[in-house]
């Protein structure tokens, strides 16, 4: 269930911080009731010398001072050069241009700050992590800056027309990004943690709501306590370990897909200018997903060659088909390849119906993906003939054999990739990982609170907060889910 515009991170919004620091006036912490302060990278990935990181919300000034300490705020709306350093460790991060936009004269109408840092992923992720450590700040949700601008009357209604599309695109991009990130070991871990935590939360909630009137069996709370302790150990071990392990794959994910023997591998070899994939006239030659980092029309991209999509083949190829489908889900851009001379075959038709049509026909609200339809083997078409069927969606003709049509394809790729890479939310996986770390750390801190609290209502609150942080990564944890577990695990009722 999706919970509210400004409440998206109802629980996760609260970072770890000491109770005292927030209750004192004049400490620079935001005034109560003014909402969370958000931050995000607002420039795209790819070849940029400068990356722009923005914050919006009442703690923006505090954040700016924290990173440029002990300097005062720069004059409003003028660029100043400052040394940025981590507010906790004091470690220098970058020498950067900073700008201060006090509300309401800012993009969102709230207090805003901008950091123009040198564009390398290490610097960017360092600054983002530093911002995440400032009390009251949290990573922005998809489209949240624009939503705030809208809420403060900073956008005209015509500008808002495009907002839904934008948010949809950003949400989709983040979903794909998260799928990639959670594909594999980390995903297994997170889902396991979320499951344990939901159960512990449900048991504590059951103890509160039913502990006195109904008989829960002995030791409910003790079991929850030990589960929380195990979870704390696992999380802190993981966070200490987070620097290694995950292979980071930067760039836009371009997946080449199509029915068997359409020439996918030939296209991959053509685009990467080297023989990466084995090509043969035999259908089903490629059985696993092959990945090649390439420079496509000037943009960093990760090109994946996949097994031809068909059913009813041997187990090894079936696995290849399954992986191909999985990879399609994660793609920023699909290069759909068909044999121009074989469009009527069942496998071609099936591919058009199941992959090309859903992606192409989607309105902005359906889950549509970017897709380029390429008809390969144009050299096999009769010269001067009527061309392929007029019922096809927009497509490009190409011959991997002769290279004819390659320029058109590269131009189309350039347009698509400019859109994909210009979108900051598809940013390098390093940034997604920073987000994950932010929430894992938040979860861990909340679990620490749970252990220290004697008041059970407060302890349960800490667990809810912890679950909220994990929910930002894995989803789930709703009240209904908790109640389901309570009624499944305990005999409670009248």
């Amino acid at each position: 269930m999706w919970r509210g515009l400004w409440t998206l991170v109802a629980w996760a919004a609260r970072g770890p911080r000491s109770p005292r620091s927030c209750t004192r006036q004049g400490s620079g912490a935001p005034a109560p009731g003014s909402g969370a302060t958000i931050f995000a990278l607002s420039s795209g990935q790819g070849r940029c010398g400068i990356a722009v990181i923005r914050t919006s919300g009442p703690a923006s000034g505090h954040a700016l001072r924290s990173l440029t300490a002990p300097r005062d705020l720069p004059p409003a709306r003028s660029a100043c050069l400052r040394l940025l350093s981590h507010p906790r460790s004091g470690e220098p991060l970058d020498r950067a241009l900073v700008l201060w936009f006090p509300g309401p004269q800012s993009f969102t109408g709230e207090d805003c700050a901008e950091f123009h840092v040198h564009g390398g992923p290490a610097v960017v992720s360092g600054v983002l992590q530093a911002l995440g450590s400032v009390p009251g700040l949290r990573p922005a949700e998809a489209g949240e800056f624009t939503r705030r601008a809208f809420a403060h009357g900073k956008l005209s209604l015509t500008e808002v027309e495009g907002l839904a599309d934008l948010i949809h695109a950003e949400t989709e991009a983040q979903r794909r990004q998260a799928l990639r990130q959670l594909d594999g070991e980390l995903g297994h871990l997170c889902h396991g943690w979320a499951k344990t935590l939901t159960k512990a939360l449900a048991h504590v909630e059951a103890y509160i709501d039913f502990g006195e009137d109904d008989n829960l069996e002995e030791g409910v709370l003790e079991r929850a306590d030990s589960q929380v302790r195990e979870l704390e150990l696992a999380l802190s071990a993981h966070l200490r370990d987070a620097r290694r392990g995950q292979r980071l794959r930067s760039g836009a994910h371009v997946v080449v897909a199509g029915p068997p023997n359409a020439g996918k591998s030939s296209l991959v070899n053509l685009l990467s200018r080297k023989p990466v994939s084995i090509v043969s006239p035999e259908p089903g030659t490629t059985r696993d997903v092959l990945e090649i980092p390439v420079d496509l029309a000037g943009f960093p991209a990760l090109l994946s060659d996949t097994a031809g999509l068909r059913e009813g083949v041997g187990p090894v190829e079936q696995e290849g088909v399954r992986r191909a489908r999985e990879r399609l889900q994660q793609a920023d851009l699909i290069l759909a390849v068909l044999d121009a001379s074989d469009l009527a075959s069942p496998s071609s038709r099936n591919f058009l119906d199941t992959v090309v049509a859903p992606a192409g026909a989607g309105s902005p609200n359906e889950s549509s993906q970017r897709l380029l339809l390429v008809l390969n083997k144009s050299d096999l078409l009769p010269p001067g003939g009527p061309g392929p069927s007029p019922n096809l969606p927009p497509h490009l003709l190409l011959s991997c054999l002769t290279g004819e049509g390659l320029d058109d394809l590269l131009e189309a790729l350039r347009k698509e990739l400019a859109e994909v890479c210009g979108d900051p939310s598809t940013g390098p996986p390093l940034l997604t990982r920073a987000r994950h770390q932010h929430h894992l750390q938040g979860c861990l801190d909340a679990l620490g609170h749970y252990r220290q609290t004697k008041d059970l209502a407060l302890a349960a609150e800490a667990l809810r907060l912890a679950r909220g942080h994990l929910g930002r990564i894995t989803g789930g944890g709703s009240t209904e889910e908790v109640l389901d577990i309570i009624f499944r695990d305990f005999c409670v009722g009248k």
């Binding site: 919004a13 109770p19 927030c22 003014s34 809420a151 839904a164 709501d209 609200n365 407060l458 005999c491």
Partner: protein
Amino acid sequence: MFSLRGCGPCVAASFTKKHLPLLRFIGDSAAPLSTNFDVVVIGGGHAGTEAAAAAARCGSRTLLLTHRVDTIGQMSCNPSFGGIGKGHLMREVDALDGLCSRICDQSGVHYKVLNRRKGPAVWGLRAQIDRKLYKQNMQKEILNTPLLTVQEGAVEDLILTEPEPEHTGKCRVSGVVLADGSTVHAESVVLTTGTFLRGVIVIGLETHPAGRLGDQPSIGLAQTLEKLGFVVGRLKTGTPPRIAKESINFSILNKQTPDNPSIPFSFINETVWIKPEDQLPCYLTHTNPRVDEIVLENLHLNSHIKETTRGPRYCPSIESKVLRFPNRLHQIWLEPEGMDSDLIYPQGLSVTLPAELQEKMITCIKGLEKAKMIQPGYGVQYDYLDPRQITPSLETHLVQRLFFAGQINGTTGYEEAAAQGVIAGINASLRVKRKPPFVISRTEGYIGVLIDDLTTLGTNEPYRMFTSRAEFRLSLRPDNADSRLTFRGYKEVGCVSQQRYERASRMKTSLEEGISVLKSIEFSSSKWKKLIPEASISIGKSLPLRALDVLKYEEVDMKLLAKAVPEPLKKYIKCRELAERLKIEATYESVLFHQQQQIKEVQRDEALQLPKDLDYLTLRDVSLSYEVREKLQFSRPETIGAASRIPGVTPAAIINLLRFVKTSQQRQMAVHELPRTDQSLCDTDRLEERQL
């Protein structure tokens, strides 16, 4: 054989066709005898009494229609009020000057606060109530409420007329038709008919219609509702057998004694009517494997359990406990039914076996070996109306000025019914006065959580309140319900008495003053340690510690603190409630700061009203999937906040809705700038109405 008369929820809520003399009970001698009322409330249960009294408090001439005056305030199931989550609801009903908390303070026989050791946010005020006293006191209250008239009669049908053009809905209710053919005209109608809709009692394989034998329960009204297009679902519940008190061997059972002192339910009471030492005990016993055997051997004789009608996920009956959690001992609380009652209510033993087998099962339980069953347990199956068809003010989308409250909306429990009753009564009255509705947000109270859950998510099991449903649990506490709701009730709708308002204001002032004084007292931690050696204050922190921070320690209360710093703290311990509330505020202070922030964010969404007349299915220029349109069309969320809580409504859809909010706000502003045009438009409307 056992008589089913007057023994259950179904009977209390049923409608009879039998012609009763139209008795009139005039509560207010100044009110003229009339068949025209501002508000008519149908049903005298926990929702109905609260609705009628609330409407009258708001200044509306109100009629309570019930089939029998002597069943008003009947507690048709358990002889207790309150509990965890439910006690929260009662405090909120009381904060709006509702009845049930005050009546409970006059009628209880065993007061006990649950969850005492789990934190004040989840304390559950609860009491065993004397059924007879409760009914008497409630009837006295209802029959003496100014502007409230009570009349016996069975309602057969609704009178419907043309809708008001400025509101949505396909028609408007303007009165009711009684069984004898007479009519009562009303500006608003509140339906609190409990389980009357096709209610059926089940014992073993026997079933009886919910009305008295041979009587179909108010077919006309049920048919009218169905014809109007209301979506109906079916639920089931049950009640345990009653046992003769003198036949139970209490001496071998665990005894539970009440609290000393008793904590009253109502904010305006310092104490309850009865001293702790005069209160009655409860006893605890358990089921055993023999009970399991009897249940399992006789499943074929138990149609209530076999049928597919959806019961709750929790275990309402002993059969479901045995089936879902076999080989366990289940708790049975033996609760008194009243001071001079000969009956004991075995809570946890709700059962629908044939009566003979029930008796057999009871006698194999410890302490009940020689127990005499006076009345068998039974199941009830009934229709309810999908609560997504009502607004947060409890008015139906389909029929203007028709309000639903209580079990008809799919809830279970006296407290849930009372909470809805107050809101329905207030809003029925406001509607007559053409004032904006009174809605409690889920950030303001459990009442808000209850109604928001019902109206946005619906329910497919009898909905019961739990504290786990409230996301702002630490802010919505039993102790502060008055500061959350009493002021709103007084200022916005006038349903709160002057006396209560002044009391709440005084408390608020004292609390604010107390907190700022506690914040202003600062000593080093070592000095605090010397002043209060009992507290586990860690020395060595360089920062000075405020008295408020010291009060956060579990072992410190206001008494200790005032002993250590008599000036100026002495005066804050004179009032027990004030001292306790200061301690509670200190306990949650740091977390409440963050919670307040989240509450503001939710409230921002809820301030964005969606136009009520949107036809989501045909809305143009908006990119919404058909699935989302259907969901919005059915639930008709009133705010962006509520829309975003409907499962399946995407962020992108919300943005599109936001655009509508903004455009309609702009349109409204344009109208306000031209008040004259506005006025003339209204006049035209009225003219057309007359012509109709």
